[in-house]
C-alpha cells in the first residue's frame, strides 16, 4: 500500500512538472487532463473515493474543456483584431 502511495506521489509530481513545463495553453489542457487522472488515482489509493470521483470529473473533464473553449475564444478575438 505504501509503495503504491509512493509510486502515485512520484507520478503526480512528474505530471505536475510536465503541466508546468508545457508551453502552450491548448496543449496544457491535455496534459492537465492526464494530471487530473493521476491525482484522482492518488486519492483513490489514499482511500478517498469521494474526492477521487470529484477530481476525475472536474479535473480531467470540465476544467480542460473550459480551458480549450476559453483559449479558442481568445484566439478568435485576437485574430479578429489583427485583421
Amino acid at each position: 500500500m505504501t509503495i503504491l502511495v509512493l509510486i502515485m506521489l512520484g507520478l503526480v509530481a512528474v505530471g505536475g512538472t510536465v503541466v508546468a513545463l508545457t508551453d502552450r495553453p491548448e496543449r496544457q489542457a491535455v496534459t492537465l487532463a492526464v494530471y487530473g487522472l493521476l491525482l484522482s488515482i492518488l486519492f483513490l489509493v489514499l482511500a478517498a473515493p469521494d474526492v477521487a470521483l470529484s477530481q476525475v470529473a472536474i479535473g480531467s473533464a470540465v476544467v480542460p474543456l473550459m480551458i480549450l473553449l476559453a483559449w479558442r475564444t481568445v484566439r478568435k478575438a485576437t485574430a479578429g483584431k489583427r485583421r
Binding site: D50, L53, S54, A61, L65, M66, L69, T73, K76, G80
Partner: protein
C-alpha cells in the same frame, strides 16, 4: 512600489508562511497513524444517523453549513462567468456550425456512453449516503456526460437536448431546495440544516434523514450549474461572431 520593496514583501510573507507551515506540520498526527480524534467523532455521529458513507454524512449533515456556503460560491461564480461571457456590443449571434469531421469510433463511443454516463451520474447522486459519491460528484458526472452529445454529434444536437432555461431554473430550484431544507431545520427548532427527518434503517435507499434530499438538491444545482457554465463558453465560441 518598486521591485526591491515587492521582493521584500514577498520574502517576508513567504518566510512567515514557511515558519507557520513548519509548526503546523510538526504538530500533525503521523501519516497513516492509528489516532484520529476527528474520525472517531465523525464516524460515531454518522452511524448514529444511519449513514454508511461517513464523508457524505459530514458534507450533507454534520457540516451542512459548509456545503451550503460552497454551493453558494458555485452559484455566484456561474452567474459571474455567464455575465462575463454574454455577447458584447460588437458581437452578434450566428448560426452555430454543424458537426465537423468526427471519427466513427468517437461517435460510437459517445452515443454508447451517453446513456451509461447519465445513469451512472443519477446513481451517484441518489446513493450518495450509501456509497462513495453524492450530489456534487454525481451532478458533475451528469453535466459532463450530457456534453458527450457535443463530442459525438454536433453542437446543434446538444442545443436541442439542452433547453438552457430549464437548467437555469434547475440551478435556482436546487439552491432553493437547500435553503428550504435549512429553514425546515430552523422551524423544527433544531437549527439551520439540522437533520430533522427520521433516519430510517441502516443501508436503505431512503434513510439517513435529510442527507439524500440535500444530496439530490445539490445534484440538481451542480448539474444545472455546470451545464449553464459550459453553455456560456460554448455559445461564446460557436454561436457568436465579432461584427467588427
Amino acid at each position: 512600489m518598486n521591485r526591491t520593496s515587492r521582493i521584500a514583501v514577498f520574502v517576508l510573507g513567504a518566510a512567515t508562511i514557511a515558519v507557520l507551515f513548519g509548526f503546523a506540520i510538526a504538530r500533525m498526527p503521523a501519516f497513516g497513524a492509528a489516532v484520529h480524534p476527528y474520525r472517531d467523532a465523525a464516524v460515531a455521529a454518522a452511524l448514529a444517523r444511519q449513514a454508511p458513507n461517513v464523508v457524505t454524512s459530514i458534507n450533507f449533515d454534520q457540516r451542512g453549513l459548509d456545503t451550503f456556503g460552497e454551493e453558494t460560491i458555485l452559484l455566484a461564480s456561474v452567474i459571474g462567468a455567464v455575465t462575463l461571457l454574454r455577447p458584447a456590443d460588437d458581437e452578434r449571434r450566428r448560426r452555430p456550425p454543424d458537426a465537423g469531421r468526427t471519427l466513427n469510433a468517437t461517435r460510437l463511443a459517445g452515443y454508447v456512453l451517453l446513456p451509461v454516463t447519465l445513469i451512472v451520474g443519477a446513481d451517484v447522486v441518489v446513493h450518495g449516503h450509501l456509497t462513495p459519491g453524492g450530489g456534487f460528484q454525481g451532478g458533475v458526472v451528469l453535466a459532463s456526460g450530457l456534453h458527450l452529445l457535443y463530442l459525438a454529434g454536433s453542437y446543434p444536437a446538444l442545443r436541442r437536448l439542452r433547453p438552457l432555461n430549464w437548467y437555469e431554473y434547475g440551478e435556482s430550484v436546487g439552491m432553493g431546495a437547500v435553503v428550504a431544507l435549512g429553514i425546515a431545520g430552523l422551524v423544527s427548532g433544531a437549527g439551520f440544516l439540522a437533520n430533522v427527518l427520521p433516519t430510517g434503517r441502516f443501508g436503505d435507499l431512503v434513510s439517513a434523514g435529510t442527507v439524500p434530499l440535500f444530496s439530490v438538491a445539490i445534484g440538481i444545482e451542480v448539474a444545472s450549474g455546470v451545464v449553464v457554465l459550459l453553455a456560456a463558453f460554448l455559445e461564446q465560441d460557436l454561436a457568436t461572431r465579432s461584427s467588427a
